[in-house]
């Protein structure tokens, strides 16, 4: 049976397209600077910060703690007692739409833009 799926070129084309769209999405996200830091426990908003104001906040949950710091327009998880430490290793974020996730604590640090163009959640 000869179908388009048996052709290497189809797959190379498909994967190149996905890669190109992904790169475009990464670049577009990076270009869009955020203003607000929203901290969620599961789907509940529990705390907000401004990227323009330096602040350190320790969030205590039943699952454990996350210490979140805003410094020089960037937000990052300074320390946490989760086992995988993925949130701490996620680095500093400043663009709108970006997020730091601590899955073991069901915690999300989300950056958004409060500008008039904001149509997200």
């Amino acid at each position: 049976m000869r179908t388009i799926f048996n052709n290497s070129k189809f797959w190379i084309g498909l994967f190149s397209a996905v890669a190109a769209i992904s790169i475009a999405a990464i670049v577009l996200t990076e270009l869009n600077t955020g203003t607000d830091v929203l901290i969620f426990y599961k789907d509940k908003l529990i705390y907000t910060m401004k990227l323009s104001e330096n602040e350190t906040k320790r969030i205590e949950l039943d699952e454990g703690y996350n210490e979140i710091e805003v410094k020089n327009g960037e937000v990052y998880v300074k320390s946490a007692d989760c086992k995988n430490q993925i949130c701490v290793n996620s680095g500093k974020k400043s663009s709108a739409g970006s997020a730091i996730i601590c899955a073991p604590h069901s915690l999300t640090v989300k950056i958004e833009n409060d500008g008039p163009a904001d149509a997200s959640v």
């Binding site: 996905v18 992904s22 993925i86 970006s98 899955a103």
Partner: protein, 169 residues
């Protein structure tokens, strides 16, 4: 159960646990979920020689054993969702794509592995913020999937005959 196939699957299981454990020592690069995914080489080899049933069993045992070693429900969830998604798409594709496209099957597996992990993250954090990582995870899946797929293809060329003669006849 055929004793030779049983031996081969035990060896592949041991190999995949070893590879998975070694991989967990690689320091994080700052993007959650981005990993070489080298144990996918074993999954591909297993799909080629032992078929879907044995491969599903090897994967499930690998996920269970490695999660017992690392010891958290969260790591078990990520591992299980990634493996189930990857297995689902690769076991379908391998039955109708030719062998020269193992690399493409592998890329699809890596892409779905990462989609599975995003799904696990979304369930754990109960929102869709993990989608932020989707483009990075798709890019890394294409690169690592092509690498593991080409490696499996080379292994098949070099060792396929021996494995078939020793274990499958």
């Amino acid at each position: 159960m055929n004793i030779k196939k049983f031996c081969l699957s035990s060896m592949l299981l041991a190999l995949s646990i070893a590879i998975y454990t070694l991989e967990s020592f690689i320091p994080p690069i700052g993007i959650p979920g981005v990993k070489p995914g080298l144990s996918n080489i074993v999954t591909l080899i297993s799909l080629m020689y032992l078929g879907k049933g044995y491969t599903a069993l090897i994967l499930f045992l690998r996920v269970s054993v490695t999660s017992l070693i690392s010891g958290t429900l969260v790591s078990f969830m990520f591992s299980l969702f990634g493996s189930v998604f990857a297995f689902a798409v690769m076991s379908v594709l391998i039955s109708f794509l030719p062998k020269k496209l193992i690399w493409a099957i592998s890329v699809c597996g890596a892409v779905f592995h990462n989609l599975g992990q995003l799904t696990a993250a979304a369930i754990l954090i109960e929102n869709l913020s993990s989608l932020y990582y989707l483009p990075m995870l798709m890019l890394s899946a294409i690169i690592t999937g092509a690498f593991t797929g080409i490696t499996a293809q080379i292994l098949d060329n070099r060792l396929g005959q021996i494995i078939r003669r020793k274990f499958l006849q």
